[in-house]
């Protein structure tokens, strides 16, 4: 097996997700930021595309270049947001001037189709990862693990049943072997034979 050092194989990167790579700003004046947007889950595709178009326009206006766009699948939320129980995350990795971010934040707040938004500065040497892929792979792995666990449990149960059956077969043999070894039993048989002899030799009996 190939050994991977912790530095080269850093946060988020995995054998399933080899697409992890770092991002570079387009010019000296700009920095790399992450803009995450939560869209309502049960909204129509038209509304979704409209809000995405609006965001794209906003980025164009503010001279923001999109380095990477990561659109997740529709998924359940941890709590209700504006009456919505499901949502869809769209994550933009952009390079932008720091002054522009305040306006973008304000515009996203006003935007109707957006439930929540988050603008954060990325840490140095941040590796972009396909998180939706990561999530699905994790879920599949969990399911497989549980299956394996269930399989193990079944095997253990089968072993136990076999052991119990063998014990039941062995049990009746043991006491039969033990009885003749007892010293009291031998004496009793001798006495018995004497008594029987006496009984048989009794003259009162009409045989």
């Amino acid at each position: 097996m190939r050994q991977i050092s912790p530095r080269a194989y850093s946060w988020g990167a995995s054998p399933i997700n080899p697409m992890a790579h770092t991002l570079e700003p387009t010019s000296e004046e700009t920095r790399v930021y992450e803009i995450a947007i939560l869209l309502p889950g049960d909204g129509a595709d038209k509304e979704k595309s409209e809000s995405l178009r609006n965001i794209a326009e906003l980025f164009k206006e503010k001279e923001v270049t999109i380095l990477k766009k990561d659109e997740w699948k529709r998924m359940g939320l941890a709590y209700k947001i504006k009456g919505q129980e499901t949502g869809q995350y769209v994550i933009f990795y952009v390079s932008a001037k720091p002054e522009v971010l305040k306006d973008i934040d304000q515009q996203l707040k006003i935007e109707r189709g957006v439930l929540r938004h988050l603008v954060i500065k990325l840490p140095p040497k941040y590796e972009v990862v396909d998180w939706s892929l990561h999530f699905t792979a994790w879920k599949e792995g969990l399911a497989k693990e549980e299956e394996a666990r269930g399989h193990d449990r079944e095997e253990e149960l089968k072993k136990k049943i076999v052991q119990r059956a063998t014990r039941k077969v062995l049990k009746p043999e043991k006491p039969a072997e033990l009885r003749p070894a007892e010293p009291g039993a031998e004496i009793s048989t001798e006495e018995l034979s004497e008594k029987l002899g006496e009984l048989i030799s009794d003259e009162n009996l009409n045989l």
Partner: protein
């Protein structure tokens, strides 16, 4: 178990707290430091989930063994995840 370890190699990297370890609490090693983690992402639900309890609170550093540096990162990540509806504030 042999079967579970073979599946782990296929699974994406998920970090688990040291809550069940035999070493006493307060003296546990940091799982993030061991893995060489430089930053914790709010989008990494599988990992963040392990560091919150049933009620949605962040688990104590005393029990999980996380270093102070990583606990600060973790707190920020969990707060972002809660705001975006990925993790609950209170269950």
């Amino acid at each position: 178990m042999k079967t579970s370890t073979s599946n782990l190699s296929l699974m994406p990297r998920v970090i688990h707290p040291q809550t069940g370890s035999t070493t006493p609490p307060g003296k546990r090693n940091c799982p993030f430091t061991k893995a060489g983690v430089e930053s914790i992402d709010w989008k990494d639900y599988p990992t963040l989930r392990n560091f919150t309890d049933y009620f949605g609170n962040i688990k104590k550093r005393y029990y999980t063994g996380v270093s102070l540096r990583h606990q600060k990162m973790l707190r920020k990540a969990v707060e972002h995840a809660r705001f975006m509806g990925l993790l609950p504030y209170r269950k």
